[in-house]
Each structure stands twice: as structure tokens, then as C-alpha cells.
């Protein structure tokens, strides 16, 4: 079937001879790649092995001793980083391809071991005392350094997470939703600060063309953290006149990020900024309806109708935006 398509295209003059020959060769080779499957096998193997060994050590901790395990972790960690420094590619402010397939995984293993080492030593021996700040700061600095030096997006995500831990919160989305306590104002302001720092980092990355491909990670974490903090603030002051200020900030930030995303052709960020803005608008209209004391069933109907029609409007607005984006897009 594929060959028919190629022949047809070739006859119509849409494929030149050289491409046609290449494609035919590819079809006749009919290579079957088991890359994904073998990688899955490898990954499962590592997971089972570490799980098994971890449990074995855990059950025999009395005979092995903490120092031996710490020494083992440190040794492995140093080994990983030694390998990485030996095989490193020269630093550049642009994207750097990793020297070989295994490199990224060894770097990742080293980083995880390093973080584990610090966590372990703090838990078991209380090395930093009650100075938790310091215990979180050191791994974070190392992680940021490693992420930039070796150009690793995964480690950058770890570094951003540990920045959040260092600021006294966890930015991991799972925890953000599950055990997030949005009632305390200090937490909200900390989140807000963190989000702003991340958004600023995203902007600076782009502005100075320094590791430009890191921008997505900063922007992604930054957008969600800032908006969630802002919404938490909005609902915290829901009954209060301050709510209006929070809503204004949310809407203007959403507007700014929308324009920015539109410029960068990122439908993902258009979607997030529009959705967060929409949530704020919904909250605001509920509040206004409440103020005018429409509390009987009629008010409820009105609210439902409002939300339904605005959601449908939102869908059509997004469809249009997507079409406009696509007409600029040449592929």
C-alpha cells in the first residue's frame, strides 16, 4: 500500500527521483524497530532490581549498618559523576547533544544518588541540625549546576522542585493538589514569589538566549504555580473587596501570557492562560450574583445558564484562536 502511494506521488511529479528511490529502499528493507520494547525491558529491570535490593537492605539494616550504605551510595554517586565529567561535551549556551545514549541515564542516576545521600545523612545523623534550609540548599545548587553544565532537562525539573522544597513547599503537582493547604496566607505569598521567579527565569532565558530550550520547563512550572497561588489568594479574600484586586491581577497576567503564547505559537500556554482566567471570571460572576442576593432557584438557573453559554463561547473562541495559529504555521 505504501509503495502505491509513493509511486502515485512520483508519477504526479511531487517526489523527485532521489527521494522516491530512498523511500522505496526504506520500504523494501522494512525494518522493524524494537527500541521502545527493549528500553521498557531495561527500565523494568532497573526498577525491579533497585526495588529488590532496597528491600533486602532495609530488612538487613542491622547487620549492614548505616555507614556502609552511606559509603556505598557516595561511592556510586562519585563513580557516576566521574564518568560524566570524563565524557562531558564542552559547555555551550545553546543546546548540547549528550555524548552517548547511556550518558543521560548515568547522570540522572548520579543526581538521584546525590539527593538520596543528602536526605539520608540528614535523616539519620542530623548533619545540618535543625537547619533544614541548608540541607535543601546544597542539593539544589548542585542540581542547578549539573542541569546547566550537562544540559539535562530532567535534572532541571528536579532542581526546580528542590528550589520549591527549599522555599518550604513542594511544587510537585501531585502534592500541590492533594495536601496543598491554601488557607495560610504566608504559603500563598511564597507560592506567588516562586511562580514569579520561575516566570522571570523563563523570560530571562529567552531574552539572553542562554539555554533557550530550558524555557518550557520554567514557563510550565511558573505558569501553574503563579496561577494556583493567585486563585488561592482570590478565594481566600472571596468575601472581601480585595478579591477584586486579585481577580484583576489574574486577568491581566492571563492576558499577558496569552499574548506571549500567541507570539510563540504555543497552544498549550494559550489554553492554560485562558482556562485560569476563565476560572477567575467564573468566581467573580458567582460573587457578583451573590452580592445582588439572587439566592433562590432562579439565581441558580441563571448561574448555570451563564456558565454553560460562556463555556460554549470559550470553546468557539479557542477553536478560532487555533485556526489563526495554524494559518500562520506553515507545516
Amino acid at each position: 500500500m505504501a509503495n502505491n502511494i509513493y509511486r502515485q506521488l512520483h508519477e504526479q511529479g511531487l517526489l523527485n527521483d532521489e527521494s522516491y528511490e530512498r523511500l522505496q529502499k526504506k520500504e523494501s528493507l522494512n525494518l522493524f524497530s524494537v527500541h521502545w520494547e527493549l528500553n521498557l525491558l531495561l527500565y523494568t529491570g532497573v526498577l525491579l532490581l533497585t526495588g529488590g535490593l532496597g528491600t533486602l537492605i532495609y530488612k538487613n539494616i542491622d547487620t549492614i549498618g548505616h555507614q556502609a550504605i552511606l559509603a556505598l551510595i557516595a561511592l556510586l554517586c562519585i563513580g557516576c559523576f566521574y564518568y560524566c565529567f570524563k565524557h562531558k561535551a564542552p559547555f555551550s549556551s545553546q543546546k548540547v547533544a549528550s555524548p552517548n545514549t547511556g550518558f543521560d541515564y548515568i547522570l540522572l542516576l548520579g543526581s538521584i544518588l546525590m539527593v538520596t545521600f543528602f536526605g539520608y545523612i540528614q535523616y539519620q545523623y542530623n548533619l545540618f541540625g535543625n537547619n533544614y534550609n541548608l540541607a535543601a540548599l546544597i542539593p539544589m545548587v548542585i542540581l542547578f549546576f549539573v542541569a546547566y553544565r550537562f544540559d539535562h532537562l530532567g535534572i532541571l525539573s528536579m532542581a526546580i522542585t528542590s528550589l520549591a522544597v527549599w522555599m518550604g513547599i513542594s511544587v510537585t503537582p501531585k502534592t500541590l493538589l492533594l495536601i496543598g493547604d491554601f488557607n495560610s496566607l504566608t504559603l500563598i505569598y511564597t507560592y506567588l514569589l516562586l511562580g514569579c521567579i520561575l516566570l522571570a527565569a523563563a523570560w530571562l532565558t529567552e531574552r539572553f538566549q542562554f539555554k533557550k530550550h530550558f524555557r518550557f520547563s520554567y514557563q510550565n512550572y511558573g505558569t501553574h504555580v503563579t496561577f494556583i497561588a493567585l486563585l488561592a489568594g482570590f478565594f481566600h479574600f472571596f468575601e472581601h473587596a480585595y478579591a477584586l484586586i486579585w481577580a484583576t491581577v489574574i486577568l491581566s497576567l492571563a492576558g499577558y501570557l496569552y499574548r506571549d503564547a500567541y507570539k510563540n505559537h504555543s497552544f498549550y500556554f494559550i489554553l492554560t492562560s485562558v482556562l485560569y482566567g476563565y476560572i477567575a471570571l467564573c468566581g467573580l460572576s458567582i460573587r457578583i450574583l451573590e452580592l445582588f442576593a439572587i439566592k433562590d432557584i432562579g439565581g441558580f438557573y441563571l448561574l448555570l445558564l451563564l456558565i454553560i453559554s460562556s463555556t460554549i463561547g470559550l470553546i468557539f473562541f479557542l477553536i478560532n484562536t487555533y485556526k489563526n495559529l495554524k494559518s500562520d504555521d506553515h507545516l
Partner: protein, 392 residues
Amino acid sequence: MIIYNQLWLNNLRVVKKLRDDYEDGYIGKGEFLAIKQHYPVGFYKPRMVGVIGFFILTLFALTLSLALLSLIAAGGNFAGTPYWTLFLCIGCYACLEGMTKANNYFHSGIDNALLYYTVGLANTTAFWIVGFFSNDQSGLLPAFILLTLVYLYLTLRFADLLMAAGTCIYFFCAVYFTWAKLGGFGMATMPFIMILAAAVAYYILNLLNKKSIVINYINCIAAGRLVAIVVLYLAGNYFVVNKLNNLLKNLDDSHTQVQLGWLFWLWTILLPLALLATAIKNKDRLFLRTGMALSVAAVFTFRYYYHLLPVEVMLTIGGTILLLLAYTIINYLKQPKKGITYTETRKANWEKLNLEGFIIGQTMGHAHQTPAKSQSPFGGGSGGGGGSSDSF
């Protein structure tokens, strides 16, 4: 039968194929653009992010709309009957038809949401009418037959994967309940009948797979084949047979013997291996992945009945074996053997998204929270162990 524009479907197939070739560097940009212009596709189909966003928004709007309608109707006698859901179902389907035709949606998220809402309401109606919700489960059969037909129609109309899988699942349910009507004899021979039904279904789907008449439904057929293979395996799996047998004879779980046990053990262990062997021979990715998944099921089944070693020893040994196996195969396939290779011939689409960083942040982020929280008895050191407990 299919709702979509036939010419555009053909064009889409060409463009999709050539887009892959362009991204892999087989053809130049100019060529691809010319082909795209020559084979216009007028469907509205956003990328993955857009599809998910539209899907969620449409679900939200639909839920609220139906809630509002139900609320308005709640005063009358009509709203408390299955005919109300049937009415809503028909309304949804009308919207789906109208909007898909008017706006040329093609699996764009909006039509998906409408479609799934329609079948959800159809399911509710069918089960409500046959009395599923009033604990009278004797007459389920008509619902299964009806739903098989509804799903089949929707599959043919919208070429949707989930509809195709649903058709197969309801078909097997219908077979099961029909045979169960035979009473004790029916239940005793159930595994064989299900194996037979799955084999026949698979055979027919496989025959269809090569016909040009189903060219728009290739993915649907793959979904159907997948369901058929899984049913084929489960019907003869020792664990499933054992549990059904106990259920039938009102025995508790301490009974682990069934008649013809050796046959079911052979089936449990050998079928995944046979799938893997066939996959390698025919270069069939569906078989390969299903075979891998079913091998895991076989291991779990075996482990359920025979505790040879403690869990952690088994994990360690299993992990080592898997690592060695993968390493050996990768080394062996450095040079392609018989058309099979370890090198990537295509980059999977999801690899272009920045998912890796996100997932690593998710799973590893907890490792260094422990100093502040000190909840885990083992501190950060059990990061690996924590990961395994999820998977095991």
C-alpha cells in the same frame, strides 16, 4: 456509512505517511509542502494538547447542560424514567451528527466528548430498562446484544477506537451470557466457548485487516484484535478459570484445583510465549506488546499459586535476569538481524513533548523532601524501594 469526507480521509492518509517521512528526513521540506497542497485535508483536527483541552471543556459544558435540563424536568414524571436518558442520548447524538458534519470535526476532542456522552447515556438507558439497577440481573442479555449493535454502528460511523473496543467487549459479554443460559453444563464448558468465540472473532478481524474495504478502520480493527487476544488469553488463564469455578460451585478461595488444570496451566504459560514468537516472525507490534503484557500476567498468575521465594529476592533475581536479557538482545541487534533492529526507525510522537522532565520531577521529587518531613522510616534511602512497591 462513515460520516467523514472520503476524499479527505484518503488525502489525510497520504499526508500523514509523508509527514512521517519528512520528519525522518527522507524527503525535503519543499516536496512535503507541495504534497500537502496537492492533497488538501479540510478536517478540523488540533494537536494533542488542543484535543485534550477541547475534550475537557466540552465534557464540562455538556455535564452542566444536561444537569440543567434534568433539573428543569425534575418536576414531571418523565425525568425519573430511562426514557429521559434515552431522550438525552438522542439529543447528544443529534448534536454530534450536526456539529461533526457542519464543522468537519475529525476526532478533535469536541466530537469525542459528544460521542462518549452519547454512548454513556445509551449504556445507562439500556441497563436501566433491563433492570440492572434494581438488582434483578437475570435479563441482562438483551442489553448486551443491543449495545453491541449500537457500538458497532457508532464504530462504522465515526471510526473511533474506543467504540471498536467496546463493540468487541459487549460482543463477548453477549456470548458469555447466552452460553450461561444453558445452566451448569454451560458454565462448565465456558472457558472453551470463550476461547472459541475469541479465536473466531480474531480470525475474522484478521481476514478483514487485509481488505481494502476497511482502509479507514485499520486502527479500529487493531483495537478489536487486541480485545480478542486478551479475551482469548483470559478465557484459559488458570486464575480466571479457578475463580469462576469457585464462584459457580459456591466454594471459597482456598480451592485451587480445577478439572483439566494442566491444560489451563499450559495455556497460561505458553500463549504469551507463542504470541512473542509470532510477533518476531511476522514483525507484528500489536502481538509483541500484548505478548509482553500477557507474560507479566502469566508471572503474576504463577506467583499467586506458588510462593517459591520471598518477594525481594524474586525482585532482585527477576531484575537481574531482565537486565541481562535486554543487554544481550541489544548487543545482538547492534547489526539488524532479519529486519529487526534496536535503532529507532521512528521517533515516537510523545517524545517530542517534554514529558520526560515532568515525570522525573513527579517521581523523584519526593526523595529529598524527607529531611523536612521525616515521615518515612528509612529516610531518602528507600527511594528505589518506594518506586517498586507501586509496580509490584
